[in-house]
């Protein structure tokens, strides 16, 4: 146990200290009540389409019909660092890059090396080296390190609280309500009725409180349409309202589904491009919704694993290993490619992008940047094995 923990901490700090240097002082000087948003792309986003390594000599031959080109071509990407281009659907994110408010990590992976979505998401959210029986998430453990107060809380946008936000610190969930709403009196009576049932009473108490904040102080006055499947922007708009409310939570988690592109994935246009466009719109909605709070906000976007480097027989890609993760937001001093690029001349198990970079480095940087936590403490207490 000690060995694994020491190794992990050493491995993280080796890379992270350099990466964190520029941002730690900024975060501490600004505020300790910055906002942290974690977006999980469930289903495994194809990293080689989101951030295209057009400069890699093997890229075109592996990707064939679904390959994109460098900036300027007919299937051109948006310029990042030399040899890498952002998918053309990610315009808002590219704008952030140009302003220095975004970095990305390619060949990123959690320590998970199998190919099950469900287990991979669990480990990504646990933040550990392997699954333990503890079943708590890294974002919750980081929240527990914040000073006590109303904002020491995380909100999940959706009907359930995902593992990343489960644990000792306070967590709640919220999604737009159905109509007609129940009245406060009925809710109060139910609260009494639930006195002997810990699960139901806690859930109800949190729901009432979160709903109040989301509706700007009036109990369930809102009646907004639920985000339809495929549109992520309504979810980030809701997250923005909750985060920006006075005394609002320090962090939010959102899950965007629909990334498992086994067939007819497409390139500059198509199925995956549509998902990316929706992701981009969600980032824009978050920025606009947060208003001035955006300046102190850090967003991490990650997925459970990458996809196969070769295109499969049905125009899609299968479960892989190395993928792409993003760090962005008004509080981010970015414009960097984080970690190493392993190249495509050698593949992991002869099929996947080599997982050269531990994505938890990027998570740690995001947490440190958002909440002004001590980077060593984050590494040793949040991302221990």
């Amino acid at each position: 146990m000690t060995n694994r923990r020491t190794l992990l901490t050493a491995g993280l700090s080796g890379l992270s200290l350099a990466m964190l240097g520029g941002t730690a002082s900024f975060a501490q000087a600004a505020t300790t009540s910055g906002k942290f948003v974690f977006i999980i792309l469930r289903g495994a986003m194809d990293g080689l389409t989101a951030v295209v390594p057009y400069g890699d000599p093997n890229y075109q031959s592996f990707r064939g019909a679904i390959a994109l080109d460098g900036p300027g071509g007919p299937n051109g990407t948006l310029p990042l660092v030399d040899g890498f281009g952002l998918h053309p659907a990610l315009k808002e994110m590219h704008g952030l890059w140009q302003k220095g408010h975004m970095s990305f990590m390619h060949a990123a992976a959690s320590p998970y090396r199998e190919r099950s979505h469900f287990d991979a998401q669990d480990l990504l959210e646990a933040g550990t080296t392997q699954m333990t029986s503890a079943r708590s998430g890294w974002m919750n453990r980081a929240l527990a390190m914040l000073p006590n107060g109303p904002h020491q809380e995380g909100v999940a946008i959706g009907r359930t609280i995902p593992l990343v936000l489960r644990g000792p610190a306070k967590a709640t969930s919220w999604a737009p309500p159905l109509a007609p709403e129940s009245d406060m009196d009925t809710l109060a009576r139910l609260s009494d009725l639930y006195a002997g049932d810990a699960m139901l009473s806690n859930a109800l108490a949190m729901a009432i409180e979160t709903d109040r904040i989301a509706d700007g102080g009036t109990m369930m006055g809102g009646n907004e349409g639920r985000g339809r499947q495929g549109a992520y922007a309504p979810l980030t708009s809701a997250a923005a309202r909750i985060l920006a409310a006075p005394g609002g939570p320090a962090g939010a988690v959102l899950s965007f589904e629909g990334w498992d592109t086994h067939a007819n994935q497409g390139g500059a246009q198509g199925q995956l491009a549509n998902r990316l466009e929706a992701l981009d719109a969600a980032i824009k909605a978050l920025r606009e919704g947060l208003g001035p709070v955006w300046a102190t906000t850090t967003v991490v976007i990650a997925t459970e694993f990458g996809r196969t480097v070769r295109v499969n027989g049905t125009g899609g890609t299968d479960h892989g290993t190395g993928g792409v993760s993003f760090l962005l937001g008004g509080a981010v001093k970015g414009g960097k490619m984080l970690g190493d690029w392993p190249g495509l001349n050698r593949l992991y198990e002869d099929r996947d992008l080599v997982p050269a970079n531990d994505v938890r480095h990027l998570f740690a940087q995001g947490l440190t940047n958002a909440w002004g936590l001590d980077s060593q403490a984050v590494l040793s207490r949040v991302f221990t094995a």
Partner: protein, 467 residues
Amino acid sequence: MSLNAVIAANRFGLGARPGELAQIARDPKAWLMSQIGNAASTNLPANGLLSSAQAFEALQGYQQARAAQQRNAQSPNPAANVDERVRLADLISKTTGPEIEARIQHAVTTPAPFAERWVQFWSNHFTMAARNLQTTPFPGSFEREAIRPHVWGRFEDLLVKADTHVGMLIYLDQAQSIGPNSQAAQNQQGRRRVAGLNENLAREILELHTLGADGGYTQADVTEFARALTGWTVAGPRVRRLAQGAEMGTTIFVSALHEPGSRTILGKNFPATGERQALDILAHLARQPSVAKRIAFKLAQHFVADDPPPALVTRLENAFLQSRGDLSALAKTLVQSPEAWTPEAQKFKTPNDFLLSTMRASGANATSTQALRSTFEQLGQTPWRAPSPKGWPDVASEWAAPDAILKRIDWANLAADVIGETFQPLAFAETALGPALTDKTKTAISRAQTARQGIVLALMSPEFQRR
């Protein structure tokens, strides 16, 4: 009346209809046993519902009409063009719409609700969900054709029926998979778009339908299994020439698509037997001890507790092994297990079961499909729309999030208006819960400000939310 009648109705079933508790109370175990192995109890009358082949035909018709319209996009006669949404609504009104309505109607009215729970458990184990246009027409016929007739038979047979059904072949991309060295692949070399191997079905059979993610198989096993499965496809336009007169929209084995050669899976060699090869592998998988263990755990978790008693899991596992996967024997073992009859209600109802039990308690018979479908959707569990092949989760932590509780209360508020037309609040609670109704809830109901509020309190009481 003994508490066992309520346990039989709620924990094993989908909740009591008015008067049903008294009937069950005569002999709760016998009431459950009579539903096991009884084909009539799981059969859903297919009046007016499309078979999977007919649903396939409807989908083809939709796609052809859409393609024709796109070719005529500049038609000088716009009146001839049908609004895309109208056409799609028509497809759904022929397939998914009536299927969901029939399934809900059956679950709400069946006198064998334990059998229906059993069906829905297996339907979820072998999730075939609507996730796009191609899959939307099929989950209903999949459940009626591949699940319902086989849930009292052997696991191995159910496995084969589910994983070779047209709906599953489309859902998990098997219909498109082609052996890289198959005759068909050889013939299409040099063409621009060469089809090839797709591992999705093979992987999910291993991970979700049989061994489980920690079941000891490797990536090589997945790929080998995917090769063995090539040839199993759907008779459709893509393989019309190869299908040689097979009925469109049915499962066929096409030798020309099959990857030649023997395969090695879990260290065992499977000779090149063509069509039989994948079936032999499925049979081999069904007999692995890890399958018995996993099914035992899932059943105990589904019916008894999120963290099920180990003694119950072991007993179910032994029943699976001794009966060689006889699902009737498994159901009987569950009913005879003392752990399943503990007075404490440990399971939290899923949205699906909350809605169904509410409708059963209210004595509902005829319902509006449209309204029901949107309710299931709003509470987060649209029939056959599970978010992934893993199916719906089965533990309270996935369903009892703060927002989800609030959604149930809001819906109960709506339902209470309808229920209040027939029932007084306390009578409603006693009809549904019998001796499980606590004094505390009784008091709260009787002190309610309005009848509607009283019914909301009954529906949202811990004893109605749990089972």
